[in-house]
């Protein structure tokens, strides 16, 4: 179905641009990712710094921070997600229209980070919503956020619109909304969405090494 890459390049040199519908759609999506204006903690300051003059996220078409989830394509989870905040984050994600992407920026959003032992800290937002790109660091430099954005763009460019491995948003049966956890007496209920959160089992031998 695709076009021969070499042929396309040859034609480009003669001024004829040929592309597949899929790459055109993906190019459009990747080039104007509007993030949700949503800062949680320290990483949000670096996120703001990334949008400011020095790093200028506008060069990647991602400077239009939208205060409403309905208008946003990208959720940058920038900071610690506490258990008290987690239902709101999931709800905001559910309110975003497909196609939607999530960047977990910084240690806290990925895994709870330095605060993971806290009683009110969620150990990674990937327990409740699918995360596309993770950016380690505490906080990551603004350049690292831009690098994460480029990783996401590369991922979007490879997305399939049809077939078995098509993207979630291209699948009519795919879920767009994920269950929102409820506040329990001691913890969130449920503590994770088992459908999307399946960490690898850690196997240790008697000495503690990896078996």
């Amino acid at each position: 179905m695709g076009i021969d890459f070499q042929l396309a390049e040859d034609m480009k040199s003669q001024g004829v641009h040929v592309t597949s519908f899929e790459s055109l759609v993906n190019w459009g999506r990747a080039s104007s990712l509007w993030p949700l204006q949503f800062g949680l903690a320290c990483c949000a300051i670096e996120m703001i710094a990334a949008t400011m003059a020095r790093y200028d996220m506008a060069r990647f078409g991602a400077e239009v921070f939208r205060p409403s989830p309905r208008q946003a394509d990208l959720m940058i989870v920038a900071g610690t997600v506490t258990k008290k905040m987690a239902p709101q984050v999931v709800r905001l994600y559910n309110q975003m229209a497909e196609p939607k992407y999530v960047i977990a920026m910084g240690a806290c959003a990925i895994s709870g980070g330095p605060f993971k032992d806290g009683y009110n800290v969620l150990k990674g937002i990937d327990r409740f919503i699918p995360v596309d790109v993770v950016i380690p660091g505490c906080p990551p430099r603004p350049e690292a956020l831009l690098d994460g954005l480029l990783t996401l763009r590369a991922k979007i460019a490879r997305e399939k619109l049809l077939g078995k491995h098509r993207a979630r948003h291209a699948n009519p049966d795919g879920t767009a909304a994920f269950p929102v956890p409820e506040f329990g007496a001691h913890d969130l209920e449920p503590t994770a969405n088992r459908e999307i959160w399946n960490p690898p089992a850690i196997v240790r031998d008697a000495e503690g090494g990896e078996a």
Binding site: A41, I45, A53, Q88, P114, G118
Partner: protein, 385 residues
């Protein structure tokens, strides 16, 4: 004179003028562009007028105090960076000071100078970013913040060169600092300090006469002095109302007694004063920086007997406070003689400065709430800890 400042305003909280079903209940936050993070306010409106305002906290409650009670004294130092994440070095200093008080550690002179320089640079960062953020709250999202962050990046580059991180410095140690100043660093700071005055002029020209800013801030959110003191308000908020209370002067710590600077005061304590007082404080910070850089002595940057590992302060407790950029930042530590603090409590200025937010907002419009919240200058990492 108010006879009992604590109760005068709580009793003055107006009874709703119309029937309850006529009132509009609005939840501002936790995801809201002008709540400075994940802060939430449940506002009850009669038309546009605020008749009730209840802040809701805890969306960024990261259990710093609990984590600190389970780990060594040193390991809490990088966590203090993440309290008020706009000014980590002030937090470092407050914590280091509390531990030094708890264990009776002396700090060498050079380290004190380095600390003063860093704390005042942090104040510049905070107040500059404040000016950008509050303009964003008034609808000028963009220009002011861009200028503020442009200058902030210059200071962050200096921090990165000295401490190794743009924001999370983890720089101070009990009895000094982690490392000495790199070659040529103080010359760079001098250059920055020289260039900062013109930037402040530009920023003032940009803001001060602006009619929109004036009409949004004049006579908005002021309270009597006695009420503010009783409500635990500290920092620029209190000084904007004309109370000469700055811990650098009234309870001097470090080497602030050696420097010549003034405490700028406001008159009414409305939002306009709160913005302007920060510009004046930045000018004073520049003065302190000039003096500190001129007098910077040679010597050791850390006490030679300072311990990094297995640090055990003696039995006892200590409360130490510094004048953070947002107000009085205190640490209350209780040691039971082991390597871990028995009680580790932070007195967060942002949190306690919010005590009177309802009193400030009552009877004003919803749009004023956003400006008042911005003028309090909170950082959620410190509010919820």
């Amino acid at each position: 004179m108010i006879s009992d400042p604590a109760t005068s305003l709580t009793s003055a909280v107006l009874a709703p003028a119309v029937d309850d079903d006529q009132l509009l209940h609005v939840s501002l936050g936790p995801q809201h562009p002008s709540t400075h993070g994940v802060f939430r306010m449940n506002v009850v409106l009669d038309g546009e007028t605020v008749v009730r305002l209840k802040p809701v906290f805890g969306y960024l409650h990261r259990n710093h105090e609990k984590i600190a009670e389970g780990t060594s004294y040193l390991a809490s130092m990088p966590y203090t960076d993440r309290l008020d994440y706009i000014c980590p070095l002030s937090n470092n200093w407050a914590y280091a000071r509390a531990v030094e008080k708890l264990a009776g550690i002396e700090v060498p002179e050079r380290a004190e100078f380095i600390r003063v320089i860093l704390a005042e640079l942090t104040r510049l960062i905070n107040h500059t970013a404040f000016a950008g953020f509050i303009l964003g709250d008034m609808g000028a999202w963009g220009s002011a913040l861009m200028y503020a962050f442009r200058e902030r990046e210059k200071i962050l580059d200096l921090f990165e060169e000295l401490t190794g991180a743009r924001m999370m410095a983890n720089f101070m140690r009990f009895g000094g600092c982690r490392n000495d100043l790199p070659d040529g660093w103080s010359a760079k700071v001098s250059k920055l300090v020289d260039e900062y005055g013109p930037f402040l002029d530009e920023m003032e020209k940009f803001l001060v006469g602006n009619e929109i800013l004036l009409s949004r801030t004049l006579n908005v959110g002021s309270l009597p002095k006695e009420v503010l003191i009783n409500g635990g308000i500290t920092g620029p908020m209190l000084r904007a109302a004309g109370v000469p209370y700055d811990i650098r002067k009234v309870d001097p710590y470090g080497i602030y007694e050696r420097f010549d600077f003034r405490i700028p005061l406001g008159a009414t304590g409305d939002c306009y004063d709160r913005i302007m007082i920060r510009f004046l404080e930045m000018r004073e910070s520049l003065k302190i920086l000039h003096q500190a850089l001129d007098q910077l002595p040679d010597g050791s940057f850390i006490h030679p007997k300072a311990k990094i590992r297995n640090f055990k302060p003696p039995l006892g407790e200590a409360y130490a406070r510094i004048e953070g950029p947002k107000g009085e930042l205190g640490f209350h530590l209780i040691s039971d003689g082991s390597t871990r603090p028995y009680r580790y409590r932070i007195r967060p200025p942002s949190f306690i400065n919010l005590t009177l937010i309802e009193d400030m907002c009552l009877g004003l419009d919803l749009a004023d709430v956003v400006v008042i919240l911005g003028s309090i200058d909170i950082v959620l990492g410190e509010v919820d800890r």
